[in-house]
Amino acid sequence: MIQGLDVDWSLARLLDELWLRVRRLLIHQLAASHLWVDKAEYREFLERQRGLGMRLRDEWLPQALGENDYLRLNSERGFRAANSQVRAKMPLVLAFGYELAGSLAALCRCKSRRSEQAAVLCALFNFGISLFDIVVDQSPQLVGTLARHVNERTLRHLDADAAAVAELHRSWAQVEDDELRILLKIILAFFGHLRQLYSTAENACVDGGVLPHLERAYRAELSSAAASVNGAADAVQISKEKSALPFTIMGRIVGLGMDGARGLGAEPALALATAVGEIFWLTDDLTDIVADLRSGSVNGVLAGCGLAQGVSRDSAQLYDAVTDLLGGRELENRTSDVVSRLLALETQLRAGEFENSAVMPFRRLILFYVRCWIT
């Protein structure tokens, strides 16, 4: 530690350095491998994604939420302190789920009316998990209530049992807390769309379907919120499941939207979605490192350096941890991992039998959102 300096003062500078170092490393390494989207292209893509996201928001959320909750969501009051974050990110979150699903279906030559339904479902799913994160992070006191409403039993009912679904509709509409009720309505809407897809799917059993993975992702979310992490390996696993599993789930939803007889089938889409999920998991852990360090949230990079969840409250401990992180090679290694996985994804795209015209749009989509994550 630097002698004579106030720990809080010097820690703030160290956190700046950590925050900057991560971004510098990512940007430089991505640019060196021609994986960094230039500013003009990024701005233009961002505009289009926002436009698409707003169209999806206006088209699908009013029917999912009902008029009053839709207005609450768009007001300056919805989701409390996270309000501006929710409002700013909502279009991109919806657009990413939708575009990812659409481009996976296009790559596998399976674009159809059902793949469009799957894309809307992925948009709702991506939006739902982002709201879930916010509710769990912002209102830990609601986690118990949330778990009473959404558990393995209700998830199974939502998947299949029409009478039980109707009962959940009635009961969840009465939930007092605005944010929790909105989240529950999004979950209901998601399962409504999912049942529609299931009812006509030819690939309903792609390695066990969507539900088991939903349950795993849900458990990972609750574990990370409840600080019930046992050691570094557990933390890394939870961090991975929390960030990467949603992509696997979206890959499976895309599979449900495919007509079995046509195209490449569901497996290639699932493999790509899983690879993309791991890229965003690693990127997430790097870009959120300072925020996670301060809040004590689960983070794979921190866990890999021996910083268990919740260590972050003490300034002197934080100072030592950040010094170690900046002095070691972990950040470089993680950044290289992101870059090499992106390069591997490109190889995968070139080597497969994917639809040629869909390869570049898919690549652009992934690189755009990687830049979005970093900046």
Binding site: A12, D16, L20, E47, E67, D69, L71, N74, R77, N83
Partner: protein, 358 residues
């Protein structure tokens, strides 16, 4: 009545007007007081208003860069360069920075620490200045007690400071948030509005106090209903609101409309649409709105200026105990733009028949 597309045009011309009204450093200047023009405080507010339009990331970058360079060693920002940092200016600049991603952690951390140092330990509210800021020396007061009013916690400052601390990640159930929220609840009038220290009337203070309590999760439905009822009853037949005068005023209308729009599910659409139309009809061709005296500069020893009668305030004169206009038409225009952007986000640009609350 306003037609389809008018709201988009109003927002676009107001945005354009504001973006063009900046100096070379990207800051806005407005108000003229004994301390000169304000740039840091005004720029924080205007940047927040522009953020509501959805896409000004690129043009606003230069503003944020200049503001970052103005952060004082103590972590705060000020009315302008020649005055000590204060809690209100710091809250506005930090709020602006937090609405645009990519800020260094230490900037926010130091700013947050400055805000915390302005929370009154006994009352829970935030004060504009604390004794150690040294504002009494700048204005030539003989001793700190001569500026008691400026050192007193106020709802109009607390509302903004509490929002900012929550935006920066202060947990909603921390002692700091509990105390500030409890202060705001205590200061609330029976009408569901909040008095203001630095502003004429209740509109500004009410919106920011309501929003802060909503963000902290401390506003119950009954309280929200009381405020909404008061706002609906006090709306003038022409659709505007007034902060104490005979006629509807742009500044008051903007903040009363924003308050209503916090509760879109409470049957406010007709009143909100009428407030929105009133604002749009008053917009000048260049995108700005007409101004009026809005900012109060109470005498520094005055703690409760809301008790003073309207004619005891001097308008546009030297010294304190006066009310001044935002002569550059920036502050009022930014408030109106904020309200119209919020309306557009909720109800869109088209007619309001889709929404059935009336």
């Amino acid at each position: 009545m306003t037609g389809e597309g008018d709201l988009d045009r109003a927002v676009a011309t107001a945005t354009d007007h504001l973006l063009k009204a900046r100096d070379r450093g990207g800051l806005w200047s407005d108000f003229r007081t004994e301390a000169g023009h304000s740039d840091e405080w005004v720029s924080g507010f205007v940047a927040c208003a522009l953020a509501q339009t959805g896409d000004v990331d690129d043009p606003i970058a230069v503003t944020l860069e200049t503001l970052l360079g103005r952060q004082r060693k103590n972590g705060g920002w000020s009315y302008n360069r020649s005055i000590p940092a204060d809690c209100d200016s710091t809250a506005w600049v930090l709020m602006a920075l937090s609405l645009f991603p990519g800020q260094r952690p230490s900037v926010m951390e130091r700013g947050l620490r400055f805000l915390r140092s302005h929370q009154d330990a006994a009352r829970g509210g935030f004060c504009t200045y604390c004794a150690s800021d040294g504002i009494h020396k700048v204005i030539g007061a003989p001793r700190e007690s001569a500026i008691d009013g400026w050192l007193h916690s106020q709802p109009c400052v607390t509302g903004v400071a509490l929002q900012t601390t929550l935006l920066l990640g202060q947990p909603a159930h921390s002692r700091m948030v509990d105390a500030a929220a409890a202060y705001l609840v205590r200061e609330r009038r029976a009408s569901g509005t909040w008095p203001s220290y630095w502003w004429k009337g209740y509109a500004y203070s009410t919106y920011h106090s309501l929003k802060a309590l909503c963000m902290a999760g401390r506003l119950n439905k009954e309280s929200a209903n009381v405020t909404v009822r008061h706002l609906l009853v006090s709306q003038r037949p022409d659709g505007g609101w007034s902060d104490g005068g005979e006629d509807s005023e742009v500044f008051a209308t903007a903040f009363c409309l924003l308050s209503l729009l916090l509760f879109p599910e409470l049957g406010v659409l007709k009143a909100a649409a009428s407030g929105m139309s009133w604002l749009m009809e008053r917009q000048d061709a260049n995108g700005a709105w007409p101004t009026s005296p809005i900012l109060r500069i109470p005498a520094p020893m005055e703690s409760k200026p809301e008790g003073m009668t309207a004619d005891s305030w001097r308008v546009m004169q030297r010294g304190t105990g006066k009310i001044v206009t935002d002569w550059a038409a920036v502050y009022t225009s930014a408030a109106a733009l904020w309200a119209l952007s919020s309306y557009r986000r909720l109800y869109g640009n088209k007619n309001t028949s889709r929404w059935s609350d009336q």
